[in-house]
Amino acid sequence: MAVSDSKAAERVLDVSADRRQARDRAAGYLLRRHHFQWPEALPWIVAIAAFFLFPDRMTFGSQVLVMIMFALSLDLILGYAGIVTLGHAAFFGIGAYTVGLGAARLGWTEPVSGLFAAAIVSAFVGFITGWFLLRYRGLTLLMLTLATAIMLQETGNLRSDFSGGYDGLPGLEFKPLLGLFDYDLYGHTYYLYALAVLAVVFFFVRRIVYSPFGQALTGIRENVKRMHAIGSPVHRRLVTVYSIAAGIAGIAGALFTQTNAYVTLTVFDFDNSAKVMVMLILGGTGRLYGAFLGAAVYMVLEDHLSKLSPTFWQFGIGLLLVLAVLFARRGVLGLFEDAGQYLKRFRS
């Protein structure tokens, strides 16, 4: 009896050890998912390498960084929360004009505080418009966001005496960064400045994406009916993330004005909203680094193609988009992921 008893006890222990292991394995997946992995360093290494390799292309480099940030803000709402918008340029524009008007009309030329102001103003407009618009979904939302951006643009046009209209606000001057680093002709200072701001914004977005709040956004994208049924305040979640994304788009717009030292109403263009969406889809939605890849590929291609053929360069972009939609549904990043999976299987 004693023997079989101890054996039975052993078996029970075995089972519980098994279960313990299974639990740890399952939990480990969620516990470790947000840890940094080494491939994540790659875009930053490339960005720093570009600084040394192409010292005379830093103004272009800053534009790429600005568009990456803009695409990243769109990824937060489109890729994670599933909010489809064609008016995201509205917030880019508000950020751009907050800094532009601040410098031209109020003499507020300190760059870093300008970014904060742009973030706050854009986020506020995002909150107000989001509160009304995010009750709708799909095509209705698409049209309403588009209309919002056009209305803002026309408001600027109406008061062109103040906004500068389509002629814009040229020749803006900003104070040296942190009172130390002055603007240089080659844009070196602003490249590093934009890179530093992008790093901070990225860290912030990454935290959000891996937070419980970020998980809830994914839930809303995956099945909003279920989210309602488990008691999620869906509207509040959407308005929150929409405001945050608007604020980040505003920072990108502010950087755009600061690096170019001018701004015109074209920042509100439908073109700008569509372009950032194309970049994101090209790179891959809902995976953070899709914004990096998409914006960089698009901008570099645009740069080369427009030199090659100033009139027909958009054909190349169009072709790339068709190919991406046909063969790389999850974007260029998706191709890399597939290749990685394939290599792993090939090795084992």
Partner: protein, 256 residues
């Protein structure tokens, strides 16, 4: 003692079509009630009215004595009203474990947190695995929901509802679409539900209804035809008429 769920004089029409007509229904704490009726009787509509997916044209819904008629769907869920759907409503692109963690996170308000990592709360993950183990889903914890066979997905649907720690649970045909060789798994789970939870189940299989329910409500053309103990219902002439297809319309009209 106040009832767990009370529905008073509920009406709902889509245009001229009356889909719910003057429905009264009371679930005591720990109730085991089946809601039966022919196709198109308005059973799912009634669940949608109770959970707040639809707003009633008239009538009230009380949860633990509190009027929730004006509350949102999410608010009702947070007050302890959970449901499963007739057709799965899951986060198909996420793992089973994430489906559960999401539910627990929203239940306890963790999802208001933007800064902390979702993985940094082991208690949530632990509880999620507990729920999965009790439904023998632990082995599938890291599989994507869309990769599971439909029967397993039905269990996830129930696991989510239970993870909400409901006081009232509405099951809309929990075994629908599941091959009969697997349906016993789901029905076993239904049998073992916490006796404190008031359960309302919509089910077509009379064997299941008979095994599970202590009371039955028969819904015909949006109105309650009759309610009572299973034996009384099974021998009721009007119910037999409806189910044998002999002029259910008149049966409903007589009652209304």
């Amino acid at each position: 003692m106040t009832a767990a769920l009370e529905v008073q004089g509920l009406n709902r029409s889509f245009g001229a079509l009356l889909v719910t007509y003057n429905v009264n229904l009371t679930l005591e704490r720990g109730a085991r009630r089946a809601l039966i009726g022919p196709n198109g009787a308005g059973k799912t509509t009634l669940i949608n009215l109770i959970t707040g997916v639809l707003k009633p044209s008239a009538g009230r819904v009380l949860l633990n004595g509190e009027d929730i008629t004006a509350s949102s769907q999410a608010d009702r869920a947070r007050r302890g009203l959970a449901r499963t759907f007739q057709i799965n409503q899951l986060f198909r692109g996420l793992t089973v474990l994430e489906n559960l963690c999401m539910t627990i996170g929203e239940r306890d308000g963790h999802c208001n947190n933007l800064w902390r990592s979702a993985g940094a709360n082991p208690a949530v993950i632990d509880e999620a695995i507990d729920h999965l183990e009790s439904l023998q889903l632990a082995d599938d914890a890291l599989k994507l929901v869309r990769e599971l066979p439909y029967g397993r997905q039905r269990l996830v649907e129930i696991a989510i509802a239970l993870a909400q720690k409901p006081r009232v649970l509405l099951l809309d045909e929990p075994a629908a679409g599941v091959p009969s060789s697997e349906s016993h798994l789901i029905l076993d789970v239904v049998d073992r539900l916490d006796p404190d939870i008031a359960v309302l189940i919509i089910e077509h299989d009379m064997d299941v209804v008979y095994r599970f329910a202590k009371e039955i409500t028969v819904l015909v053309q949006g109105a309650v035809l009759v309610e009572g103990a299973p034996d009384a219902i099974m021998s009721d002439e009007r119910v037999r008429a409806v189910y044998l297809g002999q002029d259910g319309h008149r049966g409903a009209a007589q009652n209304g």
